[in-house]
Subunit: 273 residues, 2 copies
């Protein structure tokens, strides 16, 4: 059972996850599961989970927490039907003591009763809304990766989790900056409004042409650099904490949930007794 | 150093907390710390904290989490300057094995290295906004306690925490129901939009004149009952879980934070390195 990106673009989230689960699709998820929240993933032993959850609560812009598994339970039942976090993400990075040890397509053999999975909102949600509003995003039009930078903005620490905030940058036409800010503010589960607008030096970015992750974008006349908190922040913070084991999604290869992008809360509706 | 409600109404939050801390004010906090978030309080041993935090994440309407202490640290530094959770709430209820054991004004002798404090948004925030919009709230005009009801709506469980959602009810003039809903939706940190509008029987409330907590309000012609998720939900859930020890605020005697009611996030601004 193998499918292509073009076919899966038209399929509902549950079908896309079924293909991913069976090994029939292993590529990036941008544009799939239309209008549904996608999520960054972090899996770690329970002994670190309370501090990591505090870290997310204290840093809601880089780490908008949208779901947490029960310890040892791979089913993320608040985010959708039959979401099995061991198999439903196209590719996973395994870190041991802070270093990338391998990239795998399935966690079934690695899963254990002590693990807790965290799903964190991602920028696909507000990027989609910006494009719908007619705001061109250079990295998407040119099929590159958004540029990301370490900043001089500190996160609020919790336990072993601490470090600088990572931001993503998009060049926005000057007269649309206010609109772009207003649109993204509607999506607090996907990083919300920008953390900085304008001069990169003010948040400790020395060279806008040399991102720490992703690809540079050309400086365009009549455009302003706009910076959003980025889901790479928790990944960087987790790596620095050098946990004995930690699992994340491979960048761009996200978890597709059943939660609408514009949901008030990222929870499948509560049931009546 | 003793003060009265009328004097403290004009004082900033830090001054109010100083009076509370020194034992100079021990009454309710409605109307104090104008335009600032007030919070419900739950303190419990660390072994239950991860499950309780998951419970809040899964039930954001009854349990909008606005702050979590480090284990054993009584200073809730993300919510304001010098907030000491052992002393800065006017009155505390101590529960042992789910039963109210005592009500005290100070937790200093009870505090231990194993405790974690949770602050949860409260309805004062949106009630204030409704009144500002000219929507009269009967329980406030008549100086009674808002009526609260157990419902047939289930919370999403986490570990030992589970049970029905508790709601508060306000009679809203029919032509203002939509506006009241829209206004409260702006405050996701204070229970957000209503969970139900209209027929109480649909959410398992048999007798609107017999609330489980608080005082009944008269049924008024041309008014609709509107139900919001209520901060009594986590208190009821915690009592049912019968933790060996758990501490909450005495109802109405809330923590006053330094966070503006309309803040995007309940975090004192991150610092630049």
């Amino acid at each position: 059972m193998v499918s292509s990106y073009e076919i899966l673009r038209k399929e509902p989230a549950e079908t896309v996850r079924r293909y991913i689960r069976s090994g029939g699709y292993a590529s990036h998820t941008a544009g799939l599961g239309k209008d549904l929240l996608q999520a960054n993933l972090a899996i770690m032993p329970e002994e670190f989970a309370l501090d990591f959850m505090r870290f997310c609560q204290r840093n809601p812009k880089p780490c908008p927490l949208i779901g947490v598994s029960d310890t040892g339970n791979p089913l993320m039942f608040t985010l959708g039907h039959h979401i099995d976090i061991r198999t439903d993400v196209p590719a996973y990075n395994i870190y041991r003591n802070g270093l990338l040890s391998s990239t795998v397509a399935d966690l079934t053999s690695l899963w254990s009763d002590t693990l807790v999975a965290f799903a964190i909102g991602c920028s696909f949600t507000f990027e989609h809304a910006l494009i719908e509003a007619g705001i061109d995003l250079w990295h998407i039009s040119n099929n590159t990766t958004v540029p990301m930078f370490r900043t001089s903005l500190n996160t609020v620490p919790a336990g072993c989790f601490q470090g600088p905030m990572v931001v993503s940058m998009r060049m926005i036409p000057d007269q649309r900056v206010s609109k772009a800010s207003e649109i993204s503010a509607r999506y607090p589960l996907a990083h919300g409004s920008p953390v900085h607008i304008g001069d990169p030096a003010l948040i400790g970015i020395d060279d806008i042409n040399a991102p720490d992750w992703g690809d540079p974008v050309p400086i365009q006349a009549g455009h302003t650099p706009v910076f959003w908190a980025c889901g790479v922040t928790p990944q960087a913070v987790i790596q620095d904490a050098a946990l004995p084991i930690c699992i994340t999604h491979k960048p761009g290869h996200m978890l597709i949930t059943d939660i609408p992008n514009d949901a008030e809360n990222p929870i499948i509706a509560t049931t009546t007794m």
